[in-house]
Symmetry: D2
């Protein structure tokens, strides 16, 4: 049983965190949409607010909307709530201004807090899950904000810097160790009584053969071997669709890498700098992860293997998450059996994103949250350096199309 005060505090902190992520931005930075996958930061600020307004406040009889047209402008994809404003045109919206968007946030926040404050206990228990869903949703957009700002900035020839880099020393990469796990009939899916998304349910049995996981992520220097062996020039290692993606997009390296003479540079939220060979490779597509694994005569883990390993190992939710403020993966620490399982980079699995047996989406418009995306996407696990640590679980299922690279995605090998 959650108390009014606890829920208000969660609400205030998460909502505040989103705004603080925008502190380094100039007003101009809030408006840019550098590809259809990306949304302007301003839009994220408004859309997360729209979620609370739509699902919490609008059903209240006395609530007066901040601006009725925002119902359309800031609906992402909920078809049951009317035709959303076209996604690829979000960068055409000069107005509402950034100031008006903040006013919208504060208007809705005030109403929500007042509402939560006054809610009797039984009502509070009924409403709390919706508030929590909204805050989990907001955390997803905190990650998207950083992904999208990074992409926007990367296309600007002046290479804006989101935050100055803190110096990090890097010890040389250790050889990979393979950690063995025994198979059998296992249980997967969320088992606790806290929050989880509908796609983590129901908990169900499945069969696993014995498997091994690499004890750390693939690094830049390892990935460079693949490039130098002609990885992007010969179709042998690639899925057919993957090779088409290489050719059509003229990929020659992970996203954000560029070659100047003989030197590799990489654009990060710290600006443009030399590639660090010991860091985990990041911003690779599924196709690249899969091709790299084949090059190494290995494979990617399945999501069931990953979840089993993460559950089996001494439980902890430590890792290089958003709170560390690196905003970039770091080299493997010395002290764990399987390193970097949580945080750093989302790990591609070889599992397509499909419903668990017996899956039931949420009722109403919120049923569109996860279920309708269960085709043509691959599962990623473990969270990244721009994921809030309180957002992640070992049963958490992230998903992207196999050609996407602007998320912080990397590679762990299996066999």
């Amino acid at each position: 049983m959650i108390s009014n005060q606890a829920l208000i505090q969660s609400f205030t902190m998460t909502r505040g965190k989103t705004e603080s992520l925008c502190n380094p931005l100039e007003i101009e930075d809030y408006v840019i949409q550098s590809m259809p996958d990306v949304s302007p930061p301003k839009w994220h600020l408004a859309h997360t607010t729209w979620f609370f307004e739509t699902f919490l406040l609008l059903p209240l009889t006395h609530y007066k909307p901040f601006n009725p047209i925002f119902q359309t402008l800031f609906n992402s994809y909920y078809q049951k709530l009317g035709q959303p404003y076209p996604r690829h045109k979000r960068g055409y919206l000069a107005r509402p201004t950034v100031q008006q968007v903040y006013a919208y946030r504060h208007y809705v926040d005030e109403k929500i807090i007042k509402y939560l404050h006054e809610l009797p206990q039984d009502e509070l228990q009924r409403i709390a899950p919706l508030i929590i869903l909204g805050l989990e949703h907001e955390q997803q957009h905190q990650e998207l904000l950083l992904m999208d700002i990074k992409h926007n900035f990367s296309l600007d020839p002046v290479y804006p810097i989101y935050q100055r880099k803190s110096d990090k020393t890097h010890s040389p990469t250790q050889d990979v160790d393979w950690v063995a796990f025994s198979g059998g009939v296992m249980e997967a899916g969320y088992a606790g009584d806290g929050f989880c998304f509908d796609n983590e349910l129901p908990r169900h049995s499945h069969f696993l053969a014995d498997y091994q996981l690499a004890n750390r992520l693939v690094t830049n220097d390892e990935y460079l071997e693949f490039i130098e062996a002609g990885g992007y020039k010969t179709p042998d290692w690639w899925l057919s669709d993957g090779w088409d993606a290489v050719v059509n997009n003229q990929w020659q390296a992970p996203a954000y890498w560029q070659q100047q003479g003989n030197e590799w540079y990489v654009f990060t939220l710290n600006g443009l700098g030399k590639l660090n060979p010991n860091e985990p490779v990041v911003h690779v597509s599924y196709y690249e992860a899969d091709a790299y694994a084949r090059f190494k005569q290995a494979r990617l883990p399945s999501e069931m293997e990953w979840e089993h390993a993460a559950t089996t190992l001494p439980a902890k939710l430590k890792g290089n998450f958003l709170e560390e403020n690196h905003l970039h993966p770091i080299h493997a620490s010395e002290d764990e059996t399987v390193k970097q399982l949580l945080g750093d980079v989302w790990e591609w699995t070889l599992s397509p994103y499909t419903p668990y047996p017996g899956y039931r989406p949420l009722k109403g418009a919120l049923g569109e949250y996860n279920g309708k995306f269960m085709s043509n996407q691959m599962v990623l696990r473990g969270g990244s350096c721009v994921t809030p640590s309180s957002h992640i679980r070992t049963t958490y299922r992230n998903f992207f199309q196999p050609d996407k690279r602007w998320q912080f995605s990397g590679i762990r090998l299996a066999k």
Copy 2:
């Protein structure tokens, strides 16, 4: 141990069957490519020949190719054998003429038969699997030939007729019965010692929950209910990608259906005729199959469920296959527990096409046969009315992208 004569006979019969499928064609019909997925009939005739020439004859020192440029023209997608002629331009090839393509077939056939005839026993056993793979490949193209001719003809306003219809009586559709199966740890994948494709291996364990299958396929009149309930007008039942496909392709019904006034017509290999309400619905995409299942508050079977059911039931490989010469699905017969499991239509499953645990592709260029397509496709099971019956197995895995509809694909519900 197969004998020289038996192998030659298989070879002769399968090669002959392909040609006899082209008997109804005019020369002009051999040249058409009405969409990039489709190949001209002439191309199928040549490509299946190319397979034998490339993998059997070219390695022989004394073999003189029929025409060296055919190595490029009729390579489908084997990147290891050099850059294939672009797929979407196959309809630009006036030459070689149909007559020359037949001459190519007969030249290669003669060489292969002579070669097989003279082969000593030990060599024969080594070579036989490659011949058999070539014949299985040829059978796949027999089905493709009919799929592609149908598509080509359907776009021609004179609606050519491939074969005249034999009259069939149709009893009214019976209500669906649900057949229950018990779950547990099961084995799947090919277990015999005959031919199978690499993607059916290795046989492996997996876990199944209890499930139920509909005892027959979904019919046209049942699918019409979905259309009339606004199935193609409201996004509620659709995957997000599926709804995009509906909007972008302006789908309003299965492929080959057209409405004239209040009446539905359908184009088949028998020409244009009235829709028969009792026949199984065919030429639906995965998205339509999935949306229909959701509309009926059911789901599609997984490929493991389908295989388990097909293996559990009294084994027989009877069904409405190519040999029946209907070239169209027929209504459910009375005498089986689960009807139409084999033949009639390929049944969409909810399983993405992925490698079985421990999957190993063939060596060399033939390794490109199956494995490189294991992304963004869904598995279909059971064969169809244009599949040779000797080609199918209960472990056979067919696969198409979820938006494809020109294959003979239909719907069986599960829950």
Copy 3:
């Protein structure tokens, strides 16, 4: 002979006017690019500055560029000056910020003024034409700024208002009178000793048959007749390319018009309001102008007819130009033989934009200013309500592709 002070004053006034046009903008408004033809207002401010920096300051040995990367970012299309930043990605540039762009303007302005101040007389006469070209160029971008702001605002569902409307009374439209002109061998092209663009030269002889011009522009209510007669639904009145444009762009009315129930509304720089039937129709493409003329069994004037008429009539450069601050065409005044010839709307002519006989482009990179656009465009004449009056001449040749409509273009009939 122009004096240092006069030139500095021209420079200061024109540069200041550009900035004052941006007074109504929020920072967010400066960043938007709502179609590839449009540039963000910020970009216009920088590009016009780039022109002075590139052609005047960079050749000076002691000049230190404000920011070297601006040479690429704000080059529009001068291939001789290096690869320009891609036009359709100007809306991806969050940085430089608006503040930095203004700083760039003021930095360059200061250097130019200092330079002009110190220039000896003979040098001044040599340099003055380049300064004047830069100011004429800046005036073109003043018009583009308003065109582009209008387009950007029109796509934003909140319909931002650039300036509040001043009330205007509108008397009913008078019937058209036809004014007759006698033909013969005429002279066309600029004849004075002031500034003109290279495409207005050389003055040359040409032959004109007798012709007639309508004494006023086509109005909204006249154009509505065309719409209501099925103008956008039947191909009869249209050029073949024009009909393709209607179908592909789903045109149903001029740009910025929208129908709500039975009422027509129009978006202007004053926001969204009811269509005024007596105003000249504006924002039509060449195809629409041509189709309308055919519907009226008339034609558009040639540019030679227009120029001859404008030169023959009692000379005056009065009209509804930018200085009037209407930013929208107004109804025909009573007191002229041929009304609205200058200002209000650019008048489409039936003349493709081609070089005059003996045309020579400017030397060097400035040779790319006009000549390289002499294909696939049509000439428009007379200036519009967003053209600075000091920018226009009766020999002035504007040009746009025949399917463009975001410029303030309208229709005068001829026969």
Copy 4:
């Protein structure tokens, strides 16, 4: 006054010529459409027949159409006659077969001949212009047939040969002489009482300045100088749209040229062979012709200059036309002041295709013949080696979009 017999003879000869041009074709060759601009040969045969059926026979009360669906299938672009079958899908029509198309031709021919035979004199004079228009139309399609067959064959890696080459000796190219013409007020447009197209009328006055024409066409070796000087690598010589065409289409030479090692080859209707340096360059776009002219510090002639020169010079209609059966331009003969003015290649002019002052299109559906294409195209003059000689006039205006190259178009310089 034309006699029944004379008209029937014209009809028979022209219709027969079209069929004899198809003699070298295999049935497969009739079906191919290798780009949207091209039509399958079968379609040309049917469409020219459709013209006579539609405009001559269908108005007759007793006429029974060969097949009513052909009215849609073989309508090219006459919107007034109903929605034509989509142009870019003509290559999807397997049926009607080639044999059926010939049957269609012979059915219509027989009806027309019978009709013409029985027509009384006064009716004959009324009908003759329509027959003649149909035959001129047919001659245009004779040229299109050869253009389209050439394009289709060029994309087939086996390089089919339409006809074997007759050996031709080539003397070295002579230096260009410039022939001077005096200007003044001239008359242009058709003046006789024979057949001409509506776009050659009305005859009208225009003014010409003095000009000079090169006495022969530009040759391959001259054009190679342009290529070797980096013509396709630097934007300096190109119109802006032209440079876009170079980049987007990756042009590196005229159409049908290919480089193998250091040697240039060219595909012609005689197959693939070495480039002959002394022949006129052919299959260049307007953009290439214009860029080449600029490279040579010259320009293209205007269509009025060309027509004036052709009319002024000692009249003759001799030249390398279709009847010569070279099907390729040949080197300049010695005996004329201005060589190759007629035949060999269509000469690009710098004149956009616009109506002559006072132009009136034909009445009814035939009004769509020429007028509706008067935008975005350039005029070419003089006929080519695949134009029937009886089809050409010095007032004849051909027209193509400036990026088209599959017509036999070349370059004559002017200044």
